[in-house]
C-alpha cells in the first residue's frame, strides 16, 4: 500500500492530466475513476492516521 504522500501526489497528477482537456474520453473516464478511488483512499488514510512516536533516550 502506498503512503499518503504518494497517493496525494498521484491524485494531483491525475487531476492535472484531466485538466489538460485534450485526452480521449475513455482515458478521461479511467482517470476520473482512478481519481475518485484515490481520494477515497486518501481520506481513509487521514481518518485512520495515528502519529508514530519513537523516543531515543540513548543520547545523554
Amino acid at each position: 500500500m502506498e503512503t499518503f504522500e504518494e497517493n496525494m501526489k498521484k491524485l494531483g497528477t491525475i487531476v492535472a492530466e484531466l485538466e489538460k482537456g485534450d485526452i480521449p474520453l475513455e482515458k478521461a473516464v479511467d482517470l476520473y475513476g482512478e481519481g475518485v478511488k484515490l481520494s477515497a483512499v486518501c481520506k481513509k488514510q487521514l481518518d485512520e492516521a495515528k502519529i508514530k512516536i519513537t523516543e531515543d533516550n540513548g543520547n545523554e
Binding site: E5, Y32, G35, C42, L46, I51
Partner: protein, 396 residues
C-alpha cells in the same frame, strides 16, 4: 574675601562638576548596596561601593524602566552616567543612565564577536536556508524528553498532522555537555531519516540558553543535511541557533506547526482535487458528446431516409401549391362564368318575347327589316310559347 551662602557654594561646586568632561560621561565599576526602588516614582536609589569607599547613586524611573534585569544588593555592576551635586544636601552623587551586570558585558561582547565571525562565514546566510518539506514523513525533535517542549510538539502534531512519524531524541539542553548532546541528537535524527528536525527547549533564562549560543550548535545546525527549525523559547534576543536554523519558531509548539501542515487543510485539498477532477471529466465528456452530436446530425442528414423525406417534403409542397393554384384558377373561372351567364340571361330573346315581343322568320332567316319581305310572302311568327304562320297582306 566675600561672604557667600551655602546654596551659592553648592551651586558653584555643582557648576564646576557639570563643566568636567570626565565626570559627565563616566562608567563606574562597583557593587550595589542599599538598593531601593521608590514604589511611587519608580526612581531607584542605591550606593555603589568597592572595598574602600562608596558613592551614592540614583537612577530615574525612565532609565530604570529600560533595564533588562532587576539590580540587587551585592551585584557587581558597571554603572554609566554622570556625577553631579545634589544641592540640598551638599552631596555629590552618580546619576545612572544604565547598569550592566559585570561579566554580562564581556559575555555579550563575546557573543557579538561570535555572531560576526559566523555571519562572515555564511552560517546565517539567507541563501543557505532550505525550504521545509510540505508534508514531512518523519519529523525529528532534539530536546529534553523530560521537558515540556517534547509534550507540546507531540500534542500539536497529534492534532494537526497525525500522518507523520516523530523521532524524538533526548538531549541535554543546558549545562555542561549540552552543545555536544544537541549536535549528536541532530546527527541521530538525520541518520534516522527525518526530513525536518526541530531543535530547542521550552524557555529559560539567558544563561539557560547558553548552549544555543555556541559555535558548536550553530555548526551542527548548519551542517545538518535536512532543514532545521530552531525553537528556543525566548523571544527577546535571537540565539545563534535561531540565526543558523533554516526556520525560527518562538516556541516548540510553533515549531511543530511550522514543520507540518494542518490535516484540515489537506482534507480541503482533497475535496478541491475531487471537484476539479469531476469538472474536468465532465468537460471532456461534454466535449466528446458535442462532437458526436455534430457528426451524428451531419451523418443522418445524408441517410437515404432523410433524403427521401426531403424529396417527399418538396413534393408535397409542390402538390399543395398546385392544389391552391388550381383552386384559385377554378374559382376565378367560375365567377367569370356566372357573370357571363347572368349577362346572357338578360340578353335572352325568350325573356324579351315574354314581355310581348315576337320574331318573324322568312323561311329560316330572321326578318329584320320590312325590305326582307314582300306582299303576299308567307312568314313564320315565333312567340314565347308557340308559333303561327301568317301571310303579309300589306307592306309599307
Amino acid at each position: 574675601m566675600p561672604v557667600v551662602t551655602v546654596s551659592q557654594v553648592n551651586r558653584y561646586i555643582g557648576s564646576k562638576l557639570k563643566g568636567d568632561r570626565i565626570l559627565q560621561g563616566i562608567m563606574v565599576k562597583g557593587e550595589i548596596s542599599n538598593f531601593v526602588k521608590h514604589f511611587k516614582s519608580g526612581h531607584c536609589y542605591f550606593s555603589l561601593k568597592d572595598s574602600e569607599s562608596s558613592i551614592k547613586a540614583v537612577m530615574f524611573a525612565s532609565a530604570a524602566s529600560r533595564l533588562k534585569f532587576m539590580p540587587e544588593d551585592g551585584m557587581s555592576v558597571v554603572v554609566s552616567g554622570s556625577i553631579s551635586v545634589y544641592e540640598r544636601d551638599g552631596a555629590y552623587q552618580l546619576y545612572a543612565n544604565d547598569i550592566i551586570p559585570e561579566g554580562a558585558g564581556k559575555a555579550s561582547a563575546a557573543l557579538e564577536q561570535l555572531k560576526k565571525k559566523l555571519e562572515k562565514e555564511g552560517i546565517f546566510a539567507p541563501g543557505h536556508k532550505r525550504p521545509l518539506p510540505y508534508m514531512p514523513k518523519k519529523i525529528g525533535a532534539v530536546t529534553s524528553l523530560s521537558g515540556a517542549a517534547v509534550r507540546d510538539i507531540i500534542n500539536v502534531l497529534t492534532r494537526r498532522y497525525p500522518l507523520c512519524e516523530l523521532y524524538a531524541v533526548n538531549a541535554l539542553v543546558q549545562g555542561e555537555g549540552a552543545p555536544e548532546s544537541i549536535c549528536r541528537g541532530i546527527l541521530k535524527a538525520e541518520a534516522a531519516g527525518c526530513d525536518v528536525i526541530i531543535v530547542g527547549r521550552g524557555g529559560g533564562s539567558a544563561e539557560d540558553l547558553g548552549a544555543f549560543n555556541t559555535e558548536q550548535v550553530a555548526r551542527g545546525i548548519y551542517g545538518c543535511k535536512v532543514p532545521v527549525i530552531s525553537a528556543v523559547g525566548h523571544e527577546v534576543d535571537l540565539t545563534i541557533a535561531d540565526l543558523a536554523a533554516d526556520m525560527r519558531a518562538p516556541t516548540p509548539s510553533a515549531a511543530a506547526e511550522l514543520a507540518a501542515p494542518d490535516i484540515s487543510v489537506i482534507r480541503e485539498n482533497i475535496d478541491s482535487y475531487e471537484k476539479r477532477a469531476e469538472r474536468a471529466a465532465l468537460l471532456t465528456f461534454s466535449r466528446a458528446s458535442d462532437r458526436f452530436t455534430a457528426l451524428d446530425s451531419r451523418l443522418s442528414a445524408q441517410s437515404p431516409e432523410s433524403r427521401l423525406s426531403l424529396v417527399e417534403q418538396k413534393l408535397s409542397g409542390l402538390e399543395t401549391r398546385m392544389g391552391l393554384a388550381f383552386e384559385r384558377y377554378t374559382e376565378k373561372r367560375s365567377s367569370e362564368l356566372c357573370e357571363k351567364i347572368a349577362k346572357l340571361e338578360s340578353l335572352s330573346p325568350l325573356k324579351v318575347m315574354a314581355r310581348g315581343y315576337s320574331l318573324i322568320y322568312s323561311g329560316e332567316a330572321l326578318v329584320r327589316s320590312s325590305e326582307d319581305i314582300e306582299k303576299g310572302s308567307e312568314v313564320t311568327l315565333r312567340f314565347d310559347n308557340g308559333g303561327a304562320k301568317a301571310e303579309i297582306t300589306e307592306k309599307w
